[in-house]
């Protein structure tokens, strides 16, 4: 239970996960942001206006599947580190998962990193496709990992250090 241990339930996730149809069309981002807090960079800084937050800055973000092109810019801008990128169309048999990362050392592209789920449980080793700084002065990085499609909605963290 999210409020007891910080791990969102299936039911909570179902409210923010894009439709199968949208996933099949290309990259998306998912805001795993379930609580009303005074925050809005996702809405304010998306170049396409794909996230919106109502009049009240405390409202939950709403994501527009049509407007978002999956550019991933918002991942490193979310101060809650709650936005993840998923591209189910990455290759014939693999998805690409992008996650925000603020630990050192960072992995290098081509290395394998130990992937973790929302509860920190080990999911296995994943190839790092890309490591990108979140922008000038932004010390949040975005790590992109190649993952089997069935793990794309589970993989949300990598263990810092110990890459191979």
């Amino acid at each position: 239970m999210l409020k007891q241990d910080g791990i969102p339930s299936k039911e909570e996730l179902s409210r923010v996960l894009p439709s199968e149809q949208r996933l099949a069309q290309g990259p998306v981002v998912i805001a795993e942001c379930f609580q009303r807090i005074p925050c809005d960079p996702c809405a304010r800084r998306c170049p396409r206006g794909a996230f919106s937050i109502g009049e009240d800055i405390n409202d939950l973000p709403r994501w527009d599947a049509e407007l978002c092109d999956g550019c991933g810019d918002c991942i490193a801008l979310c101060p809650g580190m709650a936005i993840f990128g998923v591209d189910m169309t990455y290759s014939k048999d693999q998805a690409l998962v992008s996650l925000p990362f603020e630990f050192v050392p960072r992995p290098k592209p081509g290395q394998m990193a130990l992937g973790l789920d929302r509860g920190g449980r080990e999911l296995g080793w994943f190839e790092v496709a890309d490591v990108k700084c979140g922008g000038e002065g932004n010390k949040t990085y975005v790590i992109a990992l190649k993952a089997p499609r069935e793990l794309a909605m589970e993989l949300r963290q990598i263990k810092a250090g110990g890459y191979r």
Partner: protein, 363 residues
Amino acid sequence: MRETEILVIGGGPAGIRAAITAAELGAEVLLCERDGWLGGQLIKQTGKFFGREYAGQRGFEICADLLAKLHNTAKIDIWLDCPVLGIYEDGVVSCQKKDRLEKIKPQRMIIATGAAENFLAFAGNDLPGVISAGAAETLMHMSGVVPAQRALMVGAGNIGLTVSYQMIQSGVEVAAVIEAAPQIGGYLVHASKLARTGVPIKTGYTIQEAYGEGKVEGARIMRLDETWRPIPGSEEDIACDAICLAVGLNPLAELCWQAGCQMELIRELSGHVPLTDENLQTTIEGIYVAGDICGPEEATTAMAEGKLAGANAAASLGYDTEQAQAARLAALAELGELRAGPMSARIKTGLDKLREKGAAKHA
């Protein structure tokens, strides 16, 4: 005796913002800070902020911007290493400056001394290794010292959650975060961020004792039932060399007591706070307060309150320009927005109770 139009006591985010705002409006300001540097709690915060004005910026970056602004504003004098010791009936303030006792006669005062972290009673809490979350933050970010190998965090409010995350960033293994309440008190995005690194967050748990030979070697924790009583047989041992306490803050309001401000005990505001009006003026004319001293909250609200108190203090001196009015309204709007969400329900209840006491007094 040093004379000044406005004396700001405390150089944290609230005090700095108050000083800048008042000086920008034309008032002459003296800022006294007991530490050798400015920034209060803000200077050591490495997480990104929420809110509007500072969203996405990290605390220490916001602090650097504020300090640059402070140093670029004319009419502000800054005394560091200068704890304010007393406020006398005639409005004279005494402070320690180097090895001398200095007297200040201000026309207005803004007290922004912040809050102190609470301690917790449990067996073994005097063992070296039992520290506050703020101390862990200070060790990591001010002194460059790793506070522990393996730590237990007590308290899952925003401070417990964010300091745990910072400890992991510094290479500390966080064994668990325990919280007596049945729910996480801090932002859930902070909790999720920790949970996915594998840190167990255990709500409904308390610490029973710290044990070890001459230093912390472990903690015994226990589950609590719905009535917050420990459940016998639920003891668990957690090996750790530090126990960090993030169990709330208490307003540092001694100077208000001493000045004779009317004080009220408001549980939702975490202790005794000075009774204030909507201008953040206390019951003593000319003494204003801002920040955690009014009830520990966030750096964002502390800055907004600083702006409000600074604008009001300056306006009361005759610097009552359109600009002062604009600053005042902007600060009020900011506070309203920041406190509109459910996470501010407790603070809002506390402030309502405080305002009721104020209304009762005037009636």
